[in-house]
Point group: D2
Chain length 143, copies 4
């Protein structure tokens, strides 16, 4: 499966006094890409929270910061989701920086692995991924 | 009524690439002071949202930024609340910076006026300030 | 001068436990629009900070919150900048929400007036707006 | 070495529309504890950035989210730093929640491992941890 990619621009709100993006704020870019991947398959999280009543909290993540992003940078945030059992999704994600030379490869800034659980919106108990999401993930039909 | 004052420390999360606190983040300090003023009177917003079912969204505010706050600064955030009709509170607030010389006056950084409405947590419709809150505000008993 | 408009999407990062956008986070949307207005005239703030060495801190603002924005909302943030003397710009800004019915007017959520000063990046002293910025603002040539 | 512990309160700014603390915001609590650990040894990051000219960017981290924190929760953030070679520190950190029953153990919410590098503030190149920091870390004198 080829990665889904979502763009983001670095604004003042994202930076800190070190002149670079604050380390927690990369997680916002990662989440926007996951949310937009879901939307690209026709699902909004708001709607899914109501019907079928599931939300997707992050249960674990790891991230490596390779190079800092700076004010005005144009980022490309990728998102490669894989089912993880019947009740979780693991996203492999990268944050790259567009470079002025159009022919050049984007420069990798950070790499993350994010695991989200599918939980009941009311009880926060783990619940099976909806079938349409399994389909979007390219997983075989559950029996 | 003398002002309620709450302390805050400036961390990396609050700053931006200009080397100073990002302009939106001063509003977080202001809110912490309002929340702690309420707590100092024995009320948590979480609890009030459940019983009697009211929340306090900001409906309007103005702020003047006089001098920037920087990383590691110790701030003093004041909060002088006044009833505004039966369904709103207006807070006069200041953000000052503690200076190393203990005898010196804190340096004023920003001054704000924040109006919050008392609204029903479910319908977001304006509703009367609870009597205990009127009491905390030093307002006369409503008849 | 017709307004410059910039789009923004509401993500989880923007919301709070009240189910709506946190009041300080609207200021981030406002700033993105100001930054993009500047960029639409060919200027990045990063570049202006280096040459001619000016930055644009907000010195005062007021905002009225009319209706809350929620998760997944598509916002339209407008920006109508006017010179304010030789060393400041006043932006009249609005945050509206796109509504599903394409024929319908966007719904106004918030209205703000934001004054930024033009200051020397090293000394933070007020300095004249660069001529190219005066031109972008539609101001007459200074003599 | 017993852990350093720093308190934090959950405010509206930290939460999201799911009613819990937004996943990126736990990283802010973690950083406050690291910064305060450093301060408890007499060092401010602002001062260290000037003399000897070092800053401490996070280069990698992993976090497990066990239970969500909510509005008004009182958190205890621990910080157990260990030298990692001559140019990095690894912090083992926990975020726990104070529970009303004073006799009860705080409830663990999240557990993280955060590696920061010691880099030159100007060049961002890795540089040796200052001796006073090695001392604070309980590391043997370097020869």
């Amino acid at each position: 499966m080829s990665d889904f990619v979502w763009g983001a621009r670095v604004y003042w709100e994202d930076t800190d006094a070190g002149g670079v993006v604050y380390y927690a704020n990369y997680l916002k870019f990662l989440e926007r890409a996951r949310t937009e991947w879901l939307r690209s398959h026709g699902f909004s999280q708001q709607a899914l929270a109501e019907d079928p009543g599931v939300i997707f909290p992050v249960v674990r993540m790891s991230i490596e910061y390779r190079r800092p992003a700076r004010l005005d940078d144009e980022l490309l945030v990728s998102c490669d989701p894989r089912p993880r059992g019947a009740t979780a999704i693991r996203f492999l994600q990268r944050i790259c920086k567009r470079v002025p030379d159009a022919a050049a490869e984007p420069q990798m800034l950070a790499e993350a692995e994010v695991q989200v659980a599918c939980v009941d919106a009311a009880t926060f108990r783990p619940t099976r991924l909806p079938q349409f999401l399994m389909n979007a993930l390219g997983a075989p039909e559950s029996e």
